[in-house]
Amino acid sequence: MITLDSKIPEGPLEEKWTRYKANAKLVSPANKKKLDIIVVGTGISGAPAASALGEMGYNVKVFCYQDTPRRAHSVAAQGGINAAKNYKNDGDSVYHLFYDVIKGGDFRAREANVYRIAEVSNQIIDHFTAIGVPFAREYGGTLTTRSFGGVQVSRTFYSRGQTGQQVLLGAYSSLVRQIKEGTVTMYPRREMLDLVVVDGKARGIVVRNLITGEIERHSAHAVVLATGGYGTIYYLSTLAVNSNASAAWNAYKRGAAFANPSFVQIHPSSVPQMNEFQSKLTLMSESLRNDGRVWVPKTKGDSRPPNEIPEEDRDYYLERRYPAFGNLVPRDVASRAAKERCDAGYGVGPTGLAVNLDFRDAIKKQGQKAIEEKYGNLFDMYKDITGIDSYTEPMRIYPAGHYTMGGLWVNYDLMTTIPGLFAVGESNFSDHGANRLGASSLMQGAGDGYFILPYTISNYLASEIKTPRINTDTAEFQEAETRSAEKIKRLLSIRGKQTATTFHKKLGKIMWDHCGMTRNEKGLTEAIGLIRELREEFWKDLNVPGRADELNQELEKAGRVADFLELGELMMTDALNRRESCGAHFREESQTPDHEALRNDDEYAYVAVWEYNGDEPPVLHKEELKFEFVELKQRSYK
């Protein structure tokens, strides 16, 4: 049985991290060379973690499923990265950034962790600038910022609509520098299948070489998971199609507790689904809501082309419902408002499941060139996909599964409930509560990797300096390898009729219908039954062609779907347990008279932490959230 100790340092909020660093144990350069660290994933937390640890002198081994670390899905983040620089002189500060993230997360995140990420945010911008990330600039040569949803200051640094690409390629450049130096060894095209725990400590991983099919053993003194979120469980999402939960899920099955699995952000603006073959819902950055106005017709079934609908017949419902924040309300609020209008029959487009995002007024005021400069690539991408030119008519958008606030439970050290297993970036649960604010994911990922983990992992490794290099020729490694090989054998031996993709689509629909933008008791209970049936069908009727000992993309997919079929049930269980609405988790039973999320702080001001329990139901542990520095308030953006 696990015990939760969040290990939050004593003292005033603004001194906790300083005190932690002052008391953290150090590892001498000579000892660092003798310590191995595994980092799984090369996105905006993994690549920074690996390069920073390599620079410090540790032996780092990095794994990714892609052919090169530069392709991790952080590359697709669009809008920007937050920092409390206050370059716009609009009253921003570390405290304001902290408060916005806590409030945006609907008071379900840990104060100390959030304050720390706000504290390191400025260093992230300094570092990326120094390594040549071309952030947008003013004519005077200084950096510029823009506004993002849920806040009233301008603190988002950006590179046109492809900030994720620019910061990830920056992190990748630091990573290849360390590969050249020899402190980091890169293992691309490897998928983590299992975690190896020896005497209660994480000591290695088992991976599949995706080219040869060989199962490999890798050992280390500590393992860092930077494996991202699990939004692809919905099948259609804004994520890369190969993003998956398998590394985190198998760590869960080895004893790492999973926190708030049902907290999933449904992003309000993606290109709507067009047909059943669609594999992906492409994101249209939240930054577009800075200049775009969201509306639907005032009359149901108004079939006039959008440009022919006059001003008086348009319902700018975000501006109407939320006058203080207007089109810049947080993502969960914007998503639900769009769903509400479409469910009520006011949706636009061929399916009625879309709303307009209109740039007419912004173009009139600022000119097309200014809009092109800010969002050119997004308008181009939208046109490539839909054939519609958004400079002359509104974009059509609809919510889509995007980011998972839930993830592996970690303490203040970013360590999971397995000693020596750390989780950074989206793969942990720690900073975003029940809803993430825009441009905070790049901040949290890079902050964890560059400026937090290097301290906390050293604090752990200081007690490992006498542990010799971990031998992979042991019963624990053998067991993990056998378990993985047997699962693969089982997947290949069914030879049924349905492909992994078929099952993934079916699961995605169950998740979207019952554990999407709104949830209720009946739906969730039913859905658990549906998932169990689907899982049974999967293990009876799956069809995976080919062999285990070769490049086999269908086998890769099948393994991921098998894990999603288990994770889906835990998400439903978690959503069922939380009989309140908070942030992105909207329980229909718990809403205010004007249909906003209604929290229940007396009963649910806790992190729901699930412990794997074999074939028995998972065990719920609660980390009570104590708010010492902010006052819990009903979130209002009106």
């Binding site: 620079e55 520098r177 691309p188």
Partner: protein
């Protein structure tokens, strides 16, 4: 739509490949090219045939995973698009489409349409970075950058490392790829201290990996899905001359 697909099938780098023709019915014009191929694979698996191996991931034109010759063009006939963003609207019912992997000596075929592009990582590793250690950066606004240069650096930095420029080049040159990285750093004051070493190291590595020379035909620029401009190669050449 009904299509005839002539697809290159090859077991690995050492085996002989050949074209296999597939008839595919039921293609919707709003599918992306990748979705069309996924649909083909689902059909093949249903019939007990081996699916076609190809790479794709983000489906947003930004990760650089996808890439194949489509009717002789890297990423297909539409300018400025990756394969994953190429819509089937651009093809006609009844059309025959020829699909091949990147053909370049430094990109050996792994299987079917999947090639090994590790050579591009090797070039970047040779010097495509600014050596600032985590924690050593000065406050960001102490490094003012001329906006025009900053914008040009950004335009160069959007390279996704897909390899289309190499595939398009009759010499399999990686000059556009190298010039994008060199230009980004050459245009920024942060990149100047290591400028000379960087350009020498990256060019030397490009040669070592077996990429050919540039003969200024401009095919790379025409096929680059991110529309990186040829003048970056001119800047690369200038940087290279200055480095000795």
């Amino acid at each position: 739509m009904k299509l005839k697909l002539k697809i290159w099938k090859q077991g690995d780098a050492h085996s002989r490949g050949s074209f296999v023709t597939y008839d595919l019915d039921g293609v919707a014009p709003e599918m992306s090219f990748i979705e069309m191929l996924t649909y083909l694979n689902e059909t093949l698996i249903g019939k007990g045939e081996e699916p076609v191996t190809f790479e794709h991931d983000c489906h947003e034109g930004i990760c650089g995973s996808c890439g194949m010759y489509i009717n002789g063009y890297p990423h297909g006939p539409v300018k400025g698009l990756t394969t994953c963003l190429l819509s089937m609207r651009n093809f006609k019912d009844g059309e025959t489409i020829v699909i091949e992997p990147w053909r370049a000596k430094p990109f050996p075929v792994i299987k079917d349409l999947m090639v090994d592009r590790n050579a591009l990582d090797k070039i970047q590793q040779a010097g495509g970075f600014i050596s600032v250690t985590t924690g050593a950066a000065p406050e960001a606004n102490t490094i003012p950058v001329n906006k025009k240069n900053s914008d040009l650096a950004f335009d160069a930095s959007v390279c996704i490392g897909c390899g289309a420029c190499v595939a398009a080049c009759k010499n399999a040159s990686a000059m556009l790829f190298v010039s994008a990285k060199i230009s980004q750093y050459a245009l920024l004051p942060q990149g100047r201290p290591e400028g000379k070493e960087r350009v020498r190291a990256m060019i030397a590595e490009m040669d070592r990996q077996g990429f050919g020379s540039c003969s200024n035909t401009g095919a790379c620029e025409a096929q680059c899905p991110k529309q990186i401009k040829l003048f970056n190669i001119a800047r690369l050449n200038r940087e290279y001359y200055k480095a000795f």
